[in-house]
Symmetry: C2
Subunit: 263 residues, 2 copies
């Protein structure tokens, strides 16, 4: 068990809650799942403390005052900056994969520090189905749990799935927009270094709050017409090297490298 550096609250007691619930000094959450987690799983009692995060960068140390079957009440003792966030905001435009693999990408990308995930229908993605609304709810729960466990300060968003062209249009609005490509393409490192040079004035490299978008394709690969569409939006294809990575491995390796380089 690891303790949060600034407060003696274990990281198993970190929870993202709706920001409005933390507006005042008294907190009242009608949340059966959270009430169960605090009362039954962690066996907390009035007087115990938890860390409630608004998902937007604020952490509140809260002393529990009442724990029911369906509600949690508490008192805010302190508000601090939540920490745990990279300075570069990365949006991952992720092809829909087989459920297990896609959910795995959601979890790992959240741990690594992604800011937003946009599921994308590539032409070779698995077709969408009717249960998409319920899936979205499930995806967001996976991300929330991973964010809590990995001590993220902000809660990554999971958007509704977009068609490929719309994803390209949206991605192209960020400062740097990349697409992972296993064919002939510049190395990710080359592209990042030249981008850092371009955006740096003076000796110190400041990537603070830089926005980066990254598209990652499906199991069946990216179709030639999708490469053309991406190029028309100015999206830069980048290579992760000579080895062929699985559809779920590539985005994770790329995120790890991006956050290693830019953090």
């Amino acid at each position: 068990m690891r303790y949060n550096s600034s407060m003696a609250i274990p990281n198993t007691r970190r929870f993202f809650v709706p920001p409005t619930s933390l507006a005042g000094d008294q907190v009242l959450l009608q949340d059966t799942e959270l009430a169960h987690q605090l009362g039954k799983v962690l066996r907390l009692r009035p007087g115990d403390q938890v860390l409630l995060l608004d998902g937007q960068g604020t952490a509140c140390t809260v002393t529990l005052t009442d724990l029911g079957k369906n509600h949690v009440a508490g008192r805010v003792e302190a508000r601090t900056a939540a920490g745990g966030e990279p300075t570069t905001h990365i949006t991952l435009y992720m092809a829909l994969l087989r459920a297990e693999r896609f959910e795995w990408v959601l979890q790992k990308a959240t741990e690594l520090g992604v800011s937003a995930i946009v599921p994308v229908h590539f032409s070779r993605s698995l077709p969408g189905d009717k249960a998409e609304a319920r899936k979205l709810e499930r995806w967001r729960r996976i991300v929330r749990e991973a964010a809590e466990q990995s001590c993220r300060g902000r809660l990554p968003t999971v958007a509704e799935p977009l068609p490929f062209a719309a994803a390209c249009a949206q991605a192209s609005e960020s400062a740097l927009h990349l697409m992972l490509w296993e064919g002939d393409a510049q190395a990710l490192k080359t592209v990042l270094h030249s981008w850092q040079k371009q955006t740096t004035t003076g000796a110190q490299c400041s990537m603070l709050n830089a926005q980066c978008s990254m598209l990652s394709g499906p199991e069946g690969g990216i179709a030639p017409e999708e490469l053309t569409t991406a190029a028309a939006h100015g999206i830069i294809p980048v290579s992760l090297g000579p080895r062929i990575l699985r559809a779920e491995t590539a985005p994770i390796a790329a995120l790890a490298a991006l956050l290693y380089e830019l953090e």
Copy 2:
């Protein structure tokens, strides 16, 4: 389906075989599994070509001459360097995790380009059991399949599990030896940059054939006495940033970053 750049053989037709079987121009493999894969799954016939790799850096283009239930025969048409290998050789000393997670690390580490994996008993690892010999066989098959699919030129080795102190002693023999640590430690990037400066003579950074070892701990974390043991062996603790990564995520993120930096 992606074709190998130098030869028109799809990457579903790459197989690692014992190096001795590729010594001469005629190949004869008594291998029921491979015979089944070629004859039944891929439906290949005499005259079709496959790429057989010796796992040590050589790839042979082989024309099949005979396909039985239990054997495969062929003729070597060409020998080439296999490619697909990073210049830095990384050995991952990986804590034994729950089976599914550990096997997942084996697969992903192989895709990313690890050279060797040594399973390690940390004090907080799951205890070893009697089935270790069968497990080792299974682990090596997972690594071989991942190496074939990801177009590796060499086959990463999987060693027999080591106790922690023996792993530290072995790791300390490589040029750079690191241990992932989520407490206060220098950033991986800082350590790599200062190591690159030390080892570079002249302007160009040559990491060719550098040997790097990395220890990665179990779900329950690294025990204080293990930190002490590692320090006594000169192993450098490194941090991957403020977020807490799961035991299976940390080694993969670190490998991605190491190979991004050093390749």
